[in-house]
Symmetry: C2
Subunit: 650 residues, 2 copies
Amino acid sequence: MMANAIRVLAMDGVEKAKSGHPGMPMGMADVATVLFSKFLKFDASAPNWADRDRFILSAGHGSMLIYSLLHLTGYKQATREQLENFRQWGSRTAGHPEYGHLEGVEVTTGPLGQGLAHSVGFAMAERHLASRFGDELVDHRTWVIAGDGCLMEGISQEAIALAGRLKLNKLCVLWDDNAITIDGSVALSDATDQLARFKASGWAVKAIDGHDHGQIKKALAWATKQSVPTLIACKTKIGKGAATMEGSHKTHGAALGDMEIAASRQAMGWTAAPFEIPAELDKEWKKVGKAGSKHRKAWEARHLAHAQRDEFTRAMSGDLPNGAFAALDAKLKELVETKPAMATRQSSGEALATVFDAIPELVGGSADLTGSNNTFVKNTQIMDAPTYHGRYVNYGIREFGMAAAMNGMALHGGVIPYGGTFMVFSDYSRPAIRLAALMGTRVVHVLTHDSIGLGEDGPTHQPVEHLAALRAIPNLMVFRPADTVEALECWQVALQHKTTPSAMCLSRQKTPAVRTTDAGENLSRKGAYELKAANGTAKVSLFATGTEVAIALDAAAKLEAEGIATRVVSVPSFELFAQQPKAYQDAVIARGTVRVAVEAGLEQGWMRFIGEDGAFVGMTGFGASAPAEVLYEKFGITAGAVVEAAKARL
Amino acid sequence: MMANAIRVLAMDGVEKAKSGHPGMPMGMADVATVLFSKFLKFDASAPNWADRDRFILSAGHGSMLIYSLLHLTGYKQATREQLENFRQWGSRTAGHPEYGHLEGVEVTTGPLGQGLAHSVGFAMAERHLASRFGDELVDHRTWVIAGDGCLMEGISQEAIALAGRLKLNKLCVLWDDNAITIDGSVALSDATDQLARFKASGWAVKAIDGHDHGQIKKALAWATKQSVPTLIACKTKIGKGAATMEGSHKTHGAALGDMEIAASRQAMGWTAAPFEIPAELDKEWKKVGKAGSKHRKAWEARHLAHAQRDEFTRAMSGDLPNGAFAALDAKLKELVETKPAMATRQSSGEALATVFDAIPELVGGSADLTGSNNTFVKNTQIMDAPTYHGRYVNYGIREFGMAAAMNGMALHGGVIPYGGTFMVFSDYSRPAIRLAALMGTRVVHVLTHDSIGLGEDGPTHQPVEHLAALRAIPNLMVFRPADTVEALECWQVALQHKTTPSAMCLSRQKTPAVRTTDAGENLSRKGAYELKAANGTAKVSLFATGTEVAIALDAAAKLEAEGIATRVVSVPSFELFAQQPKAYQDAVIARGTVRVAVEAGLEQGWMRFIGEDGAFVGMTGFGASAPAEVLYEKFGITAGAVVEAAKARL
């Protein structure tokens, strides 16, 4: 029986690793078998075929389920050796499915709820691209297996409400309704009627016996006919097939042990060696892996004949169109002349306006702060049912759901998502930003209101630790542009990095133009650069980001007026600076000078610029509720304070 | 009309500040008026009366609603002057309600959804304390006003599912169902049937006209009779009473302007000067503020006569019982003898076991990782309906909801909550940890699996940036104990700080005892201390935390064997170290020595110990899936690497 092949591989893999989660793969083996063999549109020989159905294992701890499926259906990278090296150094079969490690894994999962939330983005991208290129090129489904944990996480509500609102009918969630969590029965901590809950958000729902292939088949067929997203509650036994432990939470997160495995194999009539699949069964599964190839070939023919063939290929590749930055470059030249003073969130809006038409993959949105985030480009249509043609998403007050959906769209391909919220609420979306960094998705988080400069809303809305906290995430580019020129440059860099997410940190309050001469190159790309040279041999170096660059320039002018040669370094991105050659870094840092940094955040991380002896002018704790200018004064983030700090060290 | 007093004050306050949110207070003025005048048990002259009902404005942007109510009912601190200084420096009337600024504000709100999630903790604490001290001392309700934003945030699902499961029938949520968000109509981003959704999680629900006092009164009376938590959907018009802007999202987040306010006042027949309440109306409202005093006095009499009077007072004060740490102190003496090697998560479990009986306020729990977090003390009962007597909560897979509920319990008083999850998922609960730090709640986050040392689960589960990110939060004590002695010490410090939350970062993997002599004092309290002195004048200083302290000791032994005098500093808490006298800090840091830090996390923040020239042995990016010992080797976090780094700098 095909499903037993999954069960045995799951037992074997976890047993060999002495680590892992056999219960879920065993429980969902039947559902997965029917899905893969009768419904999922895929071709194991072409894992990256653009019009494949997407399969997302939101309950990522059950990774042996997807590894088994990929192996059984003949994905080239999912070798027996990989299964035998489950959870070992250098293997493609990591403890949780990792995007980029193994073809067929569409998204990194494990942090619960997020696979489900990412799947909404996949489904959005699919419909949006179908509207752009036509159903003949884009017409596939997104199938998700989710567990109780996924549904308990709050993110699930954001995901299902957004999907329900958008009527994403090609999204189907298969809930592993096994009534078991790590601590025991689901009833210990939950009494939610999940069917009613999904229904309340506009989903079509159905409950089935997750071990009855007939019921599964019927339900999946039903799902393909709905006009709204679908939830199928699959009543299963965790660890189904385990001789004595079936149905117990003990099968969830540990190897079953030799004895139990032997007994289970015997009960299944399974005599093959560990990791070995009997020839007949192997043939049957491989056939499943090949079944989609006729669809793929037909699609390739359609693609070849399609008027937008090359444009589709380009869009899916993630390459930017030719001339993507022509308007941006022109605008840069204009800005050094016009020197506009504005909030950097407005500057970001200007940047978007220069690229939005030129890069049709850009899809924006906001977590209900459109006007504040300056994320909306004039005349853009809203992405909504039934056409999904618009390029702006009303994400609702769902920062985390937005960030996850953005990742999903980026992973699907053909879309470059950006989304706005207040910077302080990057805490809400943080787990998805982390996944973006881990997977390397090109998403741009537009984080406005980036300091006490937002004023009266007070400390709950004022980031102080967030620059440090975001900079702490590996492979995330954190930008804090100082003016419109830098904002355009930072956007350009963000969009040019195909495998790096960005956080664009932007002010609510107005700030003067500081880049007032044409450098002829994108200086922000270096992460930090000398914005103003000292008059003579520099005695003082001032480092600043964002709105505080103007303060540093002001302080420099005051110091120079007293005959103290002072240079100013703008630091739009720590991460990009860290990638520069050491000689460049040393020149910018200028260790021989008195070094002072000014940023309306915490000091953490700044010593790489100012050393132990340098001074930091910034925040030391939470902000307060008052007008912005009062707060800067009260918290001592002023040119005067910078001057004093420098002079105290001369 | 009483409700109009709220409306006018809201308009006046926002107008004077030229900043704020009048729409919500105006829309919910009727509901709030009925609640405060007919149902809410409170005495404005005794804001901290233990048995008062708790009122939580989850939609915190509508702060003028609560400020108006507190002013109108006669709370001493809520003066007219405070209303006039709404959102100004030093005022009690911050942009969003801030706990500790103004009596009557039970919790800081503004980050949406969190007031609702905190309210669950209030309701839990109430029932739990009722079981401990009897209904004659503890018998009050928790009333919440929540907006559309609160209900869209994922955290709301965690909160309502937990409350529903626990049948917290004294919790009532009044939903401001105004169908408006910042970007426009709720329908732009949501189509959820909220009544059905709450019902699905076991709530009793009802929809009313939120401007019909008769309906409001009937619904609130109904709510007090239910056996499960209640949701009342109050259909309202945002900005109700605004002459031309009523019902428009334009009333949400900005001053209405002189003209609109004048017209609105005229339509209401309101002629008093700004911030002035007509005498009759003032009298009526003040009467409301005094109505509860008879209940309060009756309660005081009951309290006076109560057998557990002093114990109740102590528990509510937050003071620990005498002898709270007797068993812990004894255990410490034992540990330096027995020198047990164990995972620090086990050490934390040992610490809990020594204080759990002695501190009856401790209420533990886990987000479904009880066995992994070592949060469960043997023989503890589960907190559940109908008695709520147990001291362990099955929070379910809801890290954020757990963290918020913990804050709510701590704010209610009489409970010291701790809760466990994997450290990487502190990202999920981060927004509530931040609020804990901002408000100063004594909650302890038990964060196990604190590094790549968790092994095979891989990078989705391995914190690398989390130590830096948690250390970035002001007023949060981040502990990373090196062994069982330090774990006990850190727990003691955490529990002794009444207004500081703690994060206890703990290993999955075993580590040897490193504190093997009785210091006679709690050394962890200093944040960092010399664990091992150099043999002779120190040439090298090694700094480490947690499981890496053993690596540092190993490296020191190797260096000493080569004749290089090396000291080792254990750093259980950056925050506590930063509070030490400068002379102590300098002595510990020992700038003249070669300095090397080792921690299985990122470098960010470590320069304060090692300076620009020091070496950091740790992570530079995400982890990987493999057994722990392999990962330490592959990522080069070894004694050998520490030795090399030191020698390279000698």
